[in-house]
Amino acid sequence: MTVYVNDIETKIFQGATAQDAARRFSTDTGTPLSPGQLYDSWGNIIAPDSPMTEGRRIYTVRPR
């Protein structure tokens, strides 16, 4: 499925978590992941095991 990490399109397996998506983003873009929080598009903190769904947007830095 396709999700967006920091607004970058990221292909990830079905059933992936937010942490899986962030790791895939990091691997694909060569962006090191700091052990900080993950956020949804509303700026809420989400747990690393938050389930991902098609088209969901998550962020490694709190969006404005």
């Binding site: 499925m1 292909k11 990830i12 397996f13 079905q14 059933g15 992936a16 978590t17 942490q19 899986d20 998506a21 790791r23 895939r24 691997t27 694909d28 949804d40 598009s41 509303w42 809420n44 903190i45 989400i46 747990a47 095991d49 938050s50 389930p51 769904t53 098609e54 969901r56």
Partner: protein
């Protein structure tokens, strides 16, 4: 002067009729029983302050602890603890279905509180003790709570389809409109949902009749009061770390104001009685159940990794299984019994087993890239063996020089194979196969339990499927 006096009297009368109702919402507890004594400590204080507070769970109460999930009656220990905590109501999350309909029925029957879910239908003769909504009354205020569960692209919640036999689901956004009539039947209308925060926002846009949504599924920490289309949308992350407190002031049958607060639970002292109950749950003899017998001591980590790769391959029914050495948390295993709790010591991570299709070339590229993401060593495999060279040093990729299936047939670059691996490798290995794959509702320890209990004995003492020369 006269007018002012009348207004003052009316204001006083208004105040006299105002009632306050407190709702406590928690979601996605995922059987994190270690935090329940803190929840009990909080509830003791809260109920002393507001005796009529309602305690609601927005689903996924279970799945996350072997003490709840890997026992003879999966899910039931969590229901018993929820009874002790005095829950008033729960909705279903997708993980409530993880042990199938019969076990879910037993859990619902054992609960001292009702379950609500408006978009689930069960075949005649297979009924569950479940209703779409439930009414409460507190201080003369009528509260209605309607339950909803998420459905995916396949029209089913995120659970193994085998576990959903005889059950059908409606799209929650369509189903909710059938319940608009509830608005006139109560003073406070709550949606107790397991849809995820983003879908709760969508729900609020479609269903402004609700006063608030107490949501779950996306494990979102909603810290600020979030109002969408006039509906308060809440969620308290997961694993009993937080609880939502919603306070409604109701006057003459109308909600006049509402307040929302997210409360951190570990800050509250643990309740001793609940701590004792949790200790009792952890003392379950099911965790000591013998799965099979290890014939000879297993002294190599790679051999244990091969056993784990065999387990995920068997569970997924694939040609190949791949496990990274970092996923193997024991260096050796003695001869004798291997028990349920040993599977969680071998693989405590809870990474999901994932399946995908790969060409032979993609398989080799994937395996070659594993050491770049896992510095513990070469990958452990099932259904195949390989020879490789690897540069000295951590995170250096390896180069497979020979690879064949377990019957000796060479792996062909353009042939398609099915592969099981774990969700960690699938999201971190740089060499990405074209098929993104799919995670099963099964983690590594679950796969191992299923695999080992089918074996009379096992002997992995001499098993090695990777011959890696470090240059």
């Amino acid at each position: 002067m006269k007018k002012t006096t009348i207004l003052s009297l009316l204001a006083l009368l208004g105040t006299a009729f105002a009632e306050q109702v407190t709702i406590l919402g928690i979601n996605d507890m995922h059987a994190n029983i270690d935090n329940l004594p803190h929840l009990a400590g909080f509830l003791k204080k809260e109920r002393a302050r507001t005796p009529g507070a309602l305690l609601l769970a927005a689903g996924d109460n279970r799945t996350g602890s072997p003490y709840v999930d890997a026992v003879s009656q999966p899910g039931l220990p969590m229901i018993k603890l929820m009874n002790q905590l005095g829950f008033n109501l729960s909705t279903l999350g997708n993980h409530e279905f993880d042990s199938g309909r019969t076990m879910l029925r037993d859990c619902l029957d054992a609960a001292d509180f009702p379950f609500v879910c408006a978009n689930v239908r069960v075949k005649s003769g297979a009924e569950l003790n479940l209703k779409p909504y439930h009414f409460f009354e507190r201080n003369g205020v009528r509260i209605c709570v309607l339950g909803l569960i998420q459905t995916g692209d396949n029209g089913l919640p995120d659970a193994h389809p085998e576990q959903l036999k005889d059950i059908s689901f409606r799209n929650p956004f369509e189903a909710v409109r059938d319940y608009a009539f509830l608005r006139d039947k109560c003073d406070i209308l709550l949606l107790l949902t397991h849809l995820g925060f983003e879908d709760d926002v969508k729900l609020a846009q479609l269903f402004p009749e609700a006063d608030a949504i107490i949501g779950g599924h996306s494990h979102t920490r909603v810290e600020k009061e979030t109002i969408v289309n006039g509906v308060l949308v809440t969620q308290a992350e997961n694993k009993v770390k937080f609880i939502s407190r919603l306070v409604f002031d109701v006057e003459n049958g109308k909600v006049k104001s509402r307040a929302y607060e997210l409360i951190s639970l570990p800050d509250f002292p643990a309740d001793e009685s609940m701590a004792a109950s949790v200790a009792e749950v952890k003392n379950n003899p099911d965790m000591l159940r013998e799965l099979t017998v290890v014939k000879s001591p297993i002294n190599r980590r790679e051999s244990l990794g091969c056993m784990m790769a065999d387990a995920i391959r068997d569970a997924a029914g694939t040609d190949i299984g791949v496990v990274n050495m970092g996923n193997v948390r024991l260096d050796s295993f003695p001869a004798g019994s291997i028990r349920v709790e040993d599977c969680f010591r071998l693989d405590p991570f809870g990474n999901k087993t994932a399946v995908l299709q790969v060409s032979g070339a993609e398989l080799i590229a994937f395996l070659n890239a594993v050491p770049a993401t896992d510095h513990h060593g070469a990958p452990c495999v099932s259904g195949m063996r390989y020879k490789a060279t690897k540069a000295a040093g951590e995170r250096k990729p390896m180069r497979i020089t020979e690879a064949c299936l377990e019957d000796g047939t060479p792996i062909t670059p353009d042939k398609i194979y099915t592969m099981a691996t774990n969700s960690y490798l699938l999201s971190t290995v740089p060499a990405r196969p074209a098929d993104p794959g799919k995670a099963l509702e099964l983690d590594g320890a679950d796969s191992m339990i299923m695999y080992l209990e089918k074996q009379n004995t096992i002997d992995y003492s001499e098993i090695s499927r990777a011959d890696v020369t470090v240059e």
